[in-house]
């Protein structure tokens, strides 16, 4: 490998690492916010969202939970995309490490990432079914 190629591979390695770190932090923050605001909203809805008459009542009783449930599908899609993104970054880093002649492999903690997304999905399931139950609770 020429010095220029090594330089390029090293720069790419750093870029992918930085990208992964920034996006992971951003996604985890966003998901935590999503989950906490969902639980807070569920508590508020349960405490103050008393059944009302007319269109306002229908919107409050069904519209709000349905809208929140639809948001959950986007969140789940986000988890899947995030997992695939981590996988892609891992493969790219492994490729670069091999290109540089090292044998250590990718530095991405795949097992940890896997458990992290499992935890996210568990929180997602609890939040989803809490809102699904609120569809029926009057």
């Amino acid at each position: 490998m020429s010095p220029d190629s090594v330089e390029l591979a090293l720069r790419e390695y750093k870029e992918v690492n930085a990208h992964l770190r920034a996006n992971t932090a951003q996604f985890v923050n966003w998901f935590s916010f999503f989950l906490i605001s969902n639980f807070a909203a569920a508590i508020l809805y349960l405490a103050y969202g008393a059944p009302r008459q007319g269109w306002r009542g229908v919107a409050l009783n069904y519209g709000v939970p349905v809208a929140v449930l639809l948001l959950h599908f986007l969140a789940f899609l986000g988890i899947i995309v995030f997992r695939r993104y981590i996988g892609a970054a891992d493969r790219k880093l492994a490729e670069l490490v091999a290109e540089l002649g090292e044998t250590r492999g990718s530095p991405v903690p795949l097992r940890f990432s896997r458990w992290m997304t499992h935890l996210m999905a568990a929180g997602f399931v609890i939040s989803y079914f809490a809102w699904f139950t609120l569809l029926f609770v009057r």
């Binding site: 997992r83 695939r84 981590i86 996988g87 891992d90 493969r91 795949l110 990432s113 896997r114 997304t117 499992h118 999905a121 399931v125 989803y128 079914f129 699904f132 139950t133 029926f136 609770v137």
Partner: protein, 123 residues
Amino acid sequence: MAGEKSIQTGVLRGLARRCPNCGKGRLLRGYLTVRSPCEVCGNDNANYPSDDLPPYLTVFLAGHVLIGLIVWTDSAYGPPLWLETAIYLPLTAVLCLALLPFLKGATIGICWATDVTRQSSAT
């Protein structure tokens, strides 16, 4: 056989717990172990990642059925809590255990149709 590759075909064959590639060979050995290679066409069905999605699909489906049932019986008949627990805890377990192999098959079918393998999805 590869020409018929579609998500619908994969899901239907998977739900029938048949090899998604040929639709003939049995997909699972025992409860959840993937039989690989397929006894009929030789397709490597263990190469499709089906470890994580089936439990989520199971919880998702079983949750909708059970929460609907629980809320309905609770509001219609108001049974005591011990009776609800005695009925719904075993029912939840049985429903989840019953759904899991079928949804594992469906997941493998989706992966087969979309060419998702363990190598292409490292996580």
